[in-house]
C-alpha cells in the first residue's frame, strides 16, 4: 500500500511539478523546446505487430492482450507500481493521465483512443493493486478507455516483454529508493489493426507528440475504419488515408505526347475491380496509387518498368493524402461520374504489402 501511494504520488507530482511539461496548450517547455507537428502532416511507418499474450485485468479476469490493443488507437505503457524514479513509470503514467484528461474535452479521442498500463511486476502488482490504479481512470464514460492490467506469473509475462523489447532487470540493491527494478521506459503507440506505429522513451515521451501521433492515426484510419474502402477514401479527400486493395494492374505510364523524350512519367498501382472488360484495367480502376518518376530513386528501382512489376498482384495498404478524380465508368443516379481515390506516393514507407487477412 505504501509503495502504491508513493507511485501515485510520484505520478501526480510529475503531472503537477511538470505542469509545464504536460501543459499541452502552453506549447514549448525546457525539456521539449519545439513546436509539435500538425497531425496528419507526417507518416508513422509500422514498426512491428503488437504481440499478444495472456493477461489479467484489474478485476482478475483473464483476457488476451490483443483484445485491448486492437479496434482503437492504443497508447500502452509498461510499468511497475513500486517504481519511484520520476522519469520512468510515474512519468509514463503521468503522460497517460494527461491524455486521459484531454479525451474528456475531445469526443474523437474519447471514442477512438485507449490507454493501457501494464505491469511487469506480477508478484507485487496483483489485480487488486492494479484496481487501485484504475481509480486514476475514474468512471466517467465520456473519456477514453483506460485499462490497468497485469499477468498471472512471470511465465505469462516474459514472452510478452520479449516480444515488445521491454528490458527489465533486478537491481543489486532491492531497497533502492527508486525501486528494485532496472528497466527501459517504453510506451507504445498501436494502431487499430494492432501494429506498433511508434515507441517512446523518456526522451521522446512528450504528451504533445503522443497526442499528435494519436490524432495522426485517427485521421489515417477515419476513427475506426482501417483500412478505408475506396468509397470511404473518397470522402476523405484532402486528408491522410489508408486504402487497401489488390494491385491488379501495375501500369507504367509514358509521356506519349513527346516522341523525342519517352521518359516514363509514373507508375499507377490500380485495383481494376469492376467487371467492364471493354475498358483498360486502368480505366476500370476503383483505386489508383500514383508513383511519380521523381520518387524512382526513393524506391531503389532501376526504371519504371521494374517499379511497376514490383507490385503486380500484391495486396497492399497505401497511405497518403487522398485526392479524387472522376471515375470514367461509374455514374450515380443523375448520370454524374462517381469519384475514385488517388493517392500520390513518394516514399516506400507509404506502401505496405500485406496478407489477405489484413484486407
Amino acid at each position: 500500500m505504501k509503495q502504491t501511494k508513493l507511485f501515485l504520488a510520484t505520478t501526480l507530482a510529475f503531472v503537477a511539478i511538470g505542469g509545464q511539461v504536460l501543459a499541452i496548450n502552453s506549447g514549448r517547455t525546457p525539456d521539449h523546446d519545439y513546436d509539435v507537428p500538425t497531425p496528419g502532416s507526417y507518416q508513422l511507418p509500422v514498426v512491428k505487430t503488437a504481440a499478444d499474450g495472456e493477461v489479467l485485468d484489474h478485476r482478475g479476469r483473464q483476457l488476451r492482450l490483443s483484445e485491448i490493443t486492437k479496434g482503437r488507437v492504443t497508447v500502452m505503457s509498461f510499468i511497475y507500481t513500486r517504481c519511484a524514479a520520476a522519469k520512468a513509470c510515474p512519468m509514463a503514467t503521468g503522460v497517460l493521465l494527461e491524455l486521459h484528461r484531454q479525451s474528456a474535452r475531445d469526443a474523437t479521442l474519447a471514442k477512438g483512443m485507449r490507454l493501457v498500463s501494464m505491469s511487469f511486476d506480477p508478484e507485487n502488482d496483483t489485480p487488486q493493486r492494479m484496481a487501485m490504479f484504475a481509480n486514476l481512470a475514474g468512471k466517467n464514460r465520456a473519456v477514453a478507455d483506460w485499462r490497468f492490467i497485469t499477468t498471472a506469473s512471470q511465465t505469462k509475462l516474459q514472452p510478452i516483454l520479449a516480444a515488445y523489447g521491454q528490458a527489465v532487470n533486478r537491481k543489486d540493491n532491492p531497497n533502492d529508493p527508486t525501486g528494485p527494478l532496472n528497466h527501459t521506459l517504453r510506451v507504445f503507440l498501436i494502431d487499430e489493426a494492432g501494429n506498433i506505429r511508434n515507441i517512446y522513451s523518456s526522451g521522446t515521451l512528450d504528451v504533445r507528440l503522443v497526442l499528435a501521433d494519436v490524432r495522426t492515426l485517427l485521421l489515417e484510419s477515419a476513427a475506426g475504419e482501417l483500412p478505408l474502402t475506396a468509397a470511404a477514401a473518397v470522402r476523405k479527400a484532402g486528408q491522410i488515408g489508408s486504402v487497401a486493395f489488390q494491385v491488379k494492374t501495375a501500369a507504367r505510364v509514358t509521356n506519349i505526347t513527346d516522341k523525342q523524350n519517352p521518359q516514363p512519367l509514373e507508375v499507377l498501382l490500380t485495383d481494376a475491380s469492376n467487371g467492364d472488360n471493354r475498358a483498360t484495367p486502368v480505366e476500370r480502376a476503383s483505386v489508383i496509387a500514383r508513383i511519380p518518376v521523381s520518387a524512382l530513386e526513393a524506391f531503389g528501382a532501376a526504371d519504371m518498368d521494374e517499379l511497376a512489376r514490383r507490385f503486380e498482384g500484391n495486396k497492399v495498404i497505401v497511405t497518403g493524402i487522398v485526392a479524387t478524380e472522376p471515375h470514367p465508368f461509374r455514374h450515380d443516379a443523375q448520370g454524374r461520374n462517381q469519384l475514385r481515390p488517388v493517392i500520390t506516393v513518394t516514399d516506400p514507407g507509404q506502401i505496405r504489402t500485406v496478407n489477405s487477412q489484413q484486407l
Binding site: A13, A16, Y42, N135, T178, G203, T204, G300
Partner: protein, 447 residues
C-alpha cells in the same frame, strides 16, 4: 471523476510531494551517468566505469584469419587482463568493417559493413565479456529500396537509425537514412534531400549525401552530414586523389531535420565533407560541432538568439596544410573537444567553452595515422584507434594498426596501454564502443 481525482492528487501530493521532488533530482544527477560521450542520448547508460571496449576490426588478407572481427578488450580497473584482448569473434570474409552502435536497451551491438552492406548483430547482454553473434541482415540493399553502405548505428527508442553512404544504382553519394526495429526488421527509408526537394530551406545546398546522423531530443532536431559514395571509398586513396572528377563527388552539406516527422527542414553549405557530429550535452547548449575532412575546418551548427539554426566555420584544424580531421569526441561538460587527425596522426584538443571561438590547447602524436577516439563520461580516459578505410590507410611503415589508451588530466595525455593489432594478427581496428556488466535504466541523457 475529476473531483475525485483532484482530491486524490492533492492529498497524495501533500503526503509525499516533497519526496517525489527529491527523487526526481536524484534521478537526473549527472554523476549517476557514465559511458562513452559520443553515444546516443537514448542509450541505457553504463553505471560506473566501462569494463570492456569492443573494437570493430577490419580483416587484412594474409594476417591471421584475414576476416573482419569483433575484438573485446578488458579495461576493468584491477583486472588481471587489463589492457588485453579477452575475446574475438571472426565473421566470414571482409566487409569494410566501420562503425556500429547499440540498441537503446544496450542488449545488442549492431556492426555495419560499408562494402558488403551487411549488418552484424551481437548479443552483448547475456555475457558482455563474450559478445555472441546472433543475426546478420544480408539483404540490406533490397529491403531498404536501394540504400547501401550502412555507416553508423544510432539508438532510438525501440529502433535504430542507420545513416548510409551510398546507393545501389550508381554507387555515388546520394543516400538515405534507414530505420530498423530492435528485432532487426526493416521500418523505413528516408532519402537525403536534394536540390529538388520541395519546401527545403537552402535546397540549393542539398546534395543528397550522407554520413553521420544525430539527434538533439530537447529541440526535436536531427542533423546529418555528408561524405562520399561507395565507388570512391572503396578506391585506393592515392589513385582517388589524382582523379579530379571523382574528388568532386564529396558531400558539401549538412541538413537539419524535424526529427519526429523525419522531414528535412534546412540545408547548409559546409564544403569539404563534414563528418562526425557532436551535439553538446548541456541543458541549454543548443549546438553541435563537426569537422570537414577535406578542408580541415571546425564548424558549428547552432540555434541563434532568434531561434534560427545556423552553421558557420569556427576554426582551422592544424594550420592551412590540411590534416584530414576525422573522428571527434566532446567532453560531457562541453568544455573540451578532442579532434583526431588522420593526416599527421595527432590528436588536437580544443577548449570549446566558448563554442563560437574554440582555442587549441594541446596536441599529441598518437601514431603515424589516427582515426577514432572514444572518451569516458568522466573525461579521464581516452581510447584511440588507427584505421580509416581499408584502401585509404597509409602504406608501408606508416601503416600502424593499434588501439592506444591514455589518461587525460585536463592538461595532457599519458599512456596506459597499447595494443599492436598487426602483431596480434587481428587487422585494422576501427570503431570502439564501451561495454559493461552494469547497465542502468535507459532514461534519456542530458539532452
Amino acid at each position: 471523476m475529476t473531483t475525485k481525482l483532484s482530491n486524490l492528487k492533492l492529498s497524495a501530493l501533500r503526503r509525499v510531494g516533497v519526496g517525489a521532488l527529491t527523487l526526481g533530482a536524484l534521478f537526473t544527477n549527472p554523476h549517476l551517468r557514465a559511458d562513452e560521450t559520443c553515444s546516443s542520448p537514448y542509450l541505457a547508460r553504463i553505471e560506473g566505469q566501462e569494463e570492456f571496449v569492443y573494437v570493430w576490426t577490419l580483416g587484412v588478407e594474409g594476417l591471421g584469419d584475414g576476416a573482419d572481427k569483433l575484438v573485446t578488450l578488458d579495461v576493468k580497473p584491477g583486472s588481471k587482463n587489463y589492457g588485453k584482448v579477452i575475446h574475438t569473434h571472426s565473421l566470414e570474409g571482409r566487409h569494410e568493417a566501420h562503425h556500429g552502435g547499440f540498441t537503446d536497451d544496450r542488449r545488442q551491438l549492431w556492426l555495419s559493413g560499408l562494402e558488403s552492406s551487411k549488418i552484424f548483430i551481437y548479443d552483448v547482454h547475456t555475457n558482455p565479456a563474450k559478445p555472441r553473434h546472433i543475426k546478420t541482415i544480408e539483404n540490406f540493399e533490397k529491403i531498404t529500396g536501394g540504400a547501401v553502405g550502412p555507416h553508423g548505428v544510432y539508438a532510438l527508442p525501440g529502433r535504430v537509425l542507420i545513416p548510409c553512404l551510398s546507393n545501389a544504382r550508381d554507387q555515388g553519394g546520394h543516400t538515405a537514412l534507414v530505420e530498423f526495429s530492435n528485432d532487426g526488421d526493416y521500418i523505413a527509408t528516408h532519402w537525403l534531400p536534394t536540390k529538388e526537394t520541395p519546401g527545403l530551406e537552402g535546397a540549393e545546398f542539398a546534395d543528397g549525401y550522407g554520413y553521420d546522423a544525430r539527434v538533439l531530443p530537447r529541440k526535436n532536431v536531427l542533423l546529418t552530414t555528408s561524405f562520399t559514395g561507395l565507388k570512391n571509398y572503396t578506391r585506393p586513396f592515392g589513385e582517388l586523389i589524382q582523379d579530379g572528377e571523382a574528388m568532386k563527388q564529396f558531400g558539401n552539406s549538412m541538413v537539419l531535420w524535424n526529427f519526429h516527422t523525419r522531414q528535412p527542414k534546412k540545408a547548409f553549405h559546409v564544403p569539404g565533407a563534414p563528418l562526425e557530429i557532436r551535439w553538446a550535452w548541456g541543458e541549454k547548449n543548443n549546438y553541435a560541432f563537426t569537422a570537414t575532412a577535406l578542408t580541415s575546418k571546425l564548424w558549428l551548427c547552432y540555434e541563434d538568439r532568434n531561434g534560427v539554426w545556423q552553421a558557420k566555420e569556427i576554426a582551422t584544424i592544424g594550420g592551412e596544410g590540411g590534416v584530414i580531421p576525422v573522428d571527434m569526441s566532446l567532453s560531457a561538460d562541453d568544455q573540451t573537444l578532442f579532434v583526431d587527425c588522420f593526416g599527421d596522426g595527432k590528436v588536437r584538443v580544443f577548449d570549446v567553452s566558448n563554442p563560437h571561438q574554440p582555442k587549441q590547447i594541446y596536441e599529441k602524436q598518437i601514431g603515424k595515422q589516427l582515426n577514432m577516439v572514444s572518451q569516458s563520461w568522466d573525461g579521464k580516459r581516452l581510447y584511440f584507434s588507427s584505421s580509416l578505410l581499408a584502401k585509404w590507410d597509409k602504406l608501408g611503415d606508416d601503416n600502424e594498426q593499434f588501439v592506444r589508451a591514455y589518461n587525460w588530466n585536463g592538461k595532457e595525455l599519458t599512456p596506459t596501454f597499447a595494443l599492436d593489432f598487426t602483431a596480434l594478427k587481428l587487422g585494422r581496428p576501427h570503431h570502439m564502443l564501451f561495454g559493461s556488466t552494469k547497465i542502468g535504466n535507459a532514461t534519456v541523457a542530458a539532452k
